[in-house]
């Protein structure tokens, strides 16, 4: 009679585990997978689910069954259970089995780790610089100065090695679609490897609390076809258009303003921290531009962008706004921003 409920519990537990596992495998837990590193990690997660769910179901089955079958019934107020003090065989069993499971999982995880951190001979090296609160990506060039961008561009199917450093506090370089992250640590260079496998646009996130602007320290990873990546690199390598106002194609005032607005919302990332009605941005980390801009000259606006610590609006602190916009934005983008901001505040 006593064996009977245990068989029932095993049956119910097996069904519940099967449903749970099926559900866990069916749900799409992860963001888009866009790198070679994703599959092994996602599979590891599935395996962890398959192992964990029966254990949880086991605990739940025993609790629920006990609460139902062994609950105190009227008249049992003064009764006690049988004085069972232990069972050595059972205790050895539930020490050994979890230990074996856990060591197996560790071995498997170790294999996955080696897989995702494999070093490739023909890696593309991207230097990632973190600063409060912006990313910049540097592509060293064999001959000539490196290409610097504040958005990440990567060719598909090429193993990439990121060399990450920080210019102030801890940050953490994370592309959720690549599943990998590592801290940017002041004083040392940390390394991360990923091989993008899917063309598209994916968020780059700072995952380590780095101060006031932590939640807006974002960028975008563009995974391009190798040909498109080469085109992008070539266009960036070309001498900067409009450098010093000469050469290249000249933009009309209207084009400049349009470029400025795009930069404000997109590439420059200004809107993440600053409110500006015209651009439709609502950031509150930095001063509200609708209020502070009116009355400022173009020169003052330019100084505020390239040297933000020169004057600090009352109620705000120094060293919050990245001081490197003169490097991360092209001079044309900078001119556009100044023209745009001067126009909208009039």
């Amino acid at each position: 009679m006593r064996r009977h409920p245990i068989i029932q519990m095993v049956a119910i537990g097996a069904i519940a585990s099967a449903i749970g596992i099926a559900l866990a495998l069916w749900i799409n837990w992860f963001p888009a997978d866009a790198a070679k590193q994703d599959k092994p990690i996602d599979t590891l997660y599935d395996v962890l689910m398959i192992v964990s769910i029966p254990i949880f179901v086991l605990v739940m089955t025993v609790i629920l069954y006990s609460a139902w079958a062994f609950r105190m019934r009227p008249g049992q107020e003064k009764e006690d259970g049988p004085p069972i003090h232990g069972n050595t065989r059972l205790e050895v069993f539930w020490t050994a089995i979890p230990a074996i499971i856990l060591v197996s999982l560790c071995s498997y995880a170790y294999a996955v780790l080696n897989d995702i951190e494999k070093v490739h001979a023909d890696e593309l090296v991207v230097k990632v610089h973190a600063i409060q609160f912006a990313w910049s990506f540097e592509y060293p060039q064999a001959n000539g100065r490196p290409v610097v961008s504040n958005q990440l561009y990567l060719p598909k199917d090429k193993p990439v090695r990121f060399d990450i450093d920080s210019q102030d506090v801890l940050h953490d370089f994370w592309v959720p679609a690549f599943r990998v992250k590592i801290d940017a640590v002041p004083g040392i260079t940390t390394r991360l490897r990923a091989t993008p496998t899917r063309i598209g646009i994916f968020p780059v996130v700072c995952a380590e609390l780095c101060g006031l602007g932590h939640s807006v320290m974002r960028s975008t990873a563009h995974v391009l076809s190798p040909a498109a990546f080469d085109r992008w690199l070539a266009s960036e390598k070309a001498p900067a258009v409009n450098a010093g106002g000469g050469g290249g194609r000249q933009l009309s005032q209207a084009q400049l303003i349009a470029l400025g607005r795009t930069t404000f919302i997109g590439d420059g990332g200004c809107g993440a921290c600053h409110t500006l009605a015209d651009a439709g941005t609502t950031g509150t980390t930095g001063p509200d531009l609708d209020r502070v801009l009116p009355g400022m000259s173009e020169d003052e606006i330019r100084t505020d962008i390239v040297d933000p610590n020169a004057t600090i609006a009352p109620g705000y602190q120094a060293n919050i706004m990245p001081p490197n916009f003169s490097q991360t934005l092209s001079s044309q983008q900078l001119d556009g921003l100044v023209a745009y901001l001067a126009t909208v505040s009039k």
Partner: protein, 638 residues
């Protein structure tokens, strides 16, 4: 008035705070003048920092924590048998320095619950801000302050001290002692807590806002922050010192003050749990003190421990902070869990009316956790950029520490088996704990697996995990323990119906709040952000709504506790028919706990053995011994 200012108490404490600030001001001014600073007397930062250290010490002196020792040192007559500061006759006695462990226990529990509600309110504000993407109610500085103060309060001012408080009340009673080994040290330990708590909450008033670097206060962010950061750095020193002194007190009490016949393996598991916890505290807590002293020296005196710009001639090490910090803060997770394990062992055995299954393995697994707990710290640093090989041994130890934890879970389940389960509020919280803590344990093992951890560290998955172990784990055991010992501590019964409502509301809304956080974490939402991508909006709104309902369910608890304490029916001395010693005396117990010294004659959980007792109050000759915790000699299920 002069007499009031001379006698220990709040008037003198107030006066001494002013004296402390004045002293700090003079000290700063004198030293700065001596070193030829240009503005020796007006540097607000320096004066604040020294006052934060000095004023609390003066406050403790003013309140009277040190009076006895000062009398002794100065050769004035001390009265060792003077018990005027022992025990409470009215509510006012709870607001002065008191040496009775029962009064101190209640002081601890009430103070920490006050900070639980403050910390909970901060969480509500956070969830209000996170209900929608974009910024609505607070700015990023305030938001970073909210989650930082929330975590710091609930860790240092709630979970750790509330366990110390419950243990303070219960442990001397359980081992048959009249009080703790060092009652005056015990009082001093308690009074450092309100100091730490006031400092942390007070940081909201600091210029530049409260500390906003998370409870981890990672350098070098924390060494560059406005003055509010120092309220954490220094507050932790007081909470930590309190914790260390209490742990020493517990160790000495448990080792030296057990009643005759109370061998180590006749101790209730709560005593074992607090013994283990105290070992952890004494060994680990100095490390967090060190880490915060480093930050203090960096921030205040420019020591450059963590200023790592080698190119600029600075050779600090950023990773060193994390190693020292986590060498405390991982064991701290067990400091916040082992006493809960003890509480659950007590409740499950009494409420299932069965001896605890595998008593010795339960005790040894606690010690195993203590040892292993010191070998896993760097699993918090898998993505920190430390030497990559360290990750492998840390992964293995982290996974292995689940084995002793598993032993405990399975032993509790086996204790339930074939018992007579009294499903009242403490038991419901114990069973709820088994459920949520198992989930927290499983996500912990998942996080040990480095490749998965690399993806989810610093995301909401971590937030979910920590709340499953600290809310679903620690807080559930705290609720279980508070309901279980409420009759003993207050002499009154709580309202069972409200208790059950509180349990079910908490259990449901807890899971609705924190389970979805696993999902958004895996999907890529980082933690500690005031604003987030549009794709997480729906989930976050659901989480916020559930969290508000969770907050409301706490009001049921508060109402039940306050009203039952004042108006509840009188409690019998042993309403649960428990065997441990604290239930063999009146509720609340007499001022020195036992009118006659008890003699322990058997194990603490001999339920089901007719006529079995744990302790007797006659002479040892009359005692009928029963075997303690026999393993596998009794009938089994087979």
């Amino acid at each position: 008035m002069i007499a009031k200012l001379r006698a220990p108490g709040w008037y003198r404490a107030g006066l001494f705070i002013l004296l402390g600030i004045a002293f700090s001001y003079l000290l700063v001014g004198t030293v700065r003048s001596a070193m030829h600073y240009s503005d020796p007397w007006t540097d607000g930062d320096a004066i604040t920092i020294v006052s934060l250290l000095g004023a609390p010490l003066f406050f403790l002196v003013g309140l009277g924590c040190f009076d006895y020792w000062f009398y002794w040192v100065s050769g004035r007559p001390t009265r060792p048998e003077d018990h005027s500061a022992h025990g409470a006759t009215g509510w006012k006695d709870y607001f002065r320095v008191n040496t009775d462990h029962k009064v101190i226990g209640i002081q601890y529990v009430c103070t920490s619950f006050f900070f639980l509600f403050v910390g909970g309110l901060l969480a509500m504000l956070m969830r209000a801000e996170l209900a929608q993407p974009g910024m609505q109610f607070v700015n990023s500085q305030q938001f970073n302050g909210l989650f930082s103060v929330h975590a710091a309060l609930l860790i240092f001012l709630f979970v750790i001290p509330v366990f110390a408080g419950l243990a303070n009340y219960v442990i001397p009673l359980m081992i048959g002692a009249p009080d703790m080994a060092f009652p005056r040290l015990n009082a001093l330990s308690f009074w450092m807590l309100p100091v730490a708590g006031t400092m942390m909450v007070g940081s909201f008033l600091a210029p530049g806002g409260s500390f906003a670097t998370g409870w981890t206060a990672y350098a070098p962010l924390s060494t560059e922050m406005p003055i509010g950061q120092l309220f954490f750095t220094i507050g932790v020193q007081f909470a930590g010192a309190s914790s260390i002194a209490t742990a020493l007190n517990f160790l000495v009490t448990i080792i030296t003050m057990r009643a005759p016949g109370m061998s180590f393996f006749r101790m209730p598991l709560l005593v074992w749990a607090n013994f283990s916890t105290s070992l952890l505290v004494v060994i680990a807590t100095p490390f967090v003190a060190a880490s915060q002293f480093f930050v203090l020296l960096d921030r205040a005196l420019g020591f450059q421990f963590f200023d790592a710009f080698v190119g600029a001639g600075k050779d600090g090490s950023v990773l060193m902070y994390q190693h020292v910090f986590w060498f405390y803060s991982h064991p701290a997770v067990y400091i916040m869990m082992l006493p809960g394990f003890g509480i659950i062992s007590e409740i499950i055995s009494v409420k299932a009316r069965k001896p605890i299954f595998g008593y010795r393995m339960m005790a040894f697994s606690l010690l195993a956790i203590v040892v292993l707990g010191f070998t896993v710290w760097a699993h918090h640093m898998f993505v920190s950029g430390m030497q990559s090989w360290i990750r492998i041994p840390m992964m293995i130890t982290t996974a292995i520490i689940a084995v002793p934890t598993g032993i405990k879970i399975f032993s509790w389940l086996a204790t339930l088996w074939r018992g007579v389960l009294h499903l009242d509020t403490p038991m419901l919280f114990a069973l709820g704990f088994l459920t949520t803590f198992t989930l927290g344990g499983i996500s912990g093992v998942m996080l040990a697996m480095i490749p998965f951890d690399i993806h989810v560290s610093d995301t909401y998955f971590i937030v979910a995990h920590i709340h499953y172990v600290l809310f679903g784990g620690s807080l559930f055991t705290i609720f279980a323990g508070v309901y279980y010992w409420f009759p003993k501590m207050t002499g009154r019964m709580y309202d069972e119906r409200l208790g059950k409502i509180h349990f079910w509301a908490t259990f449901v809304f807890f899971n609705l709040t924190f389970a979805p956080m696993h999902v958004i974490g895996v999907q890529g939402m980082p933690r500690r952000v005031a604003d987030y991508a549009q794709q997480f909006a729906g989930m976050n709104l659901a989480i916020s709504i559930a969290s508000f309902l969770l907050g409301i369910s706490m009001m049921v608890f508060l109402y039940n506790m306050v009203v039952s304490w004042r108006l509840g029916p009188r409690a019998a001395s042993n309403p649960w028919r428990a065997l441990t010693l604290e239930w063999q005396v009146s509720s609340p117990p007499p001022i020195f706990n036992f009118d006659a010294v008890p003699t322990v004659v058997g194990g603490p959980y001999e339920y089901g053995i007719p006529g079995a007792v744990h302790g007797i109050f006659q002479s040892p000759a009359e005692a009928k011994p029963t075997p303690a915790g026999n393993v596998a000699t009794a009938p089994t299920t087979e």
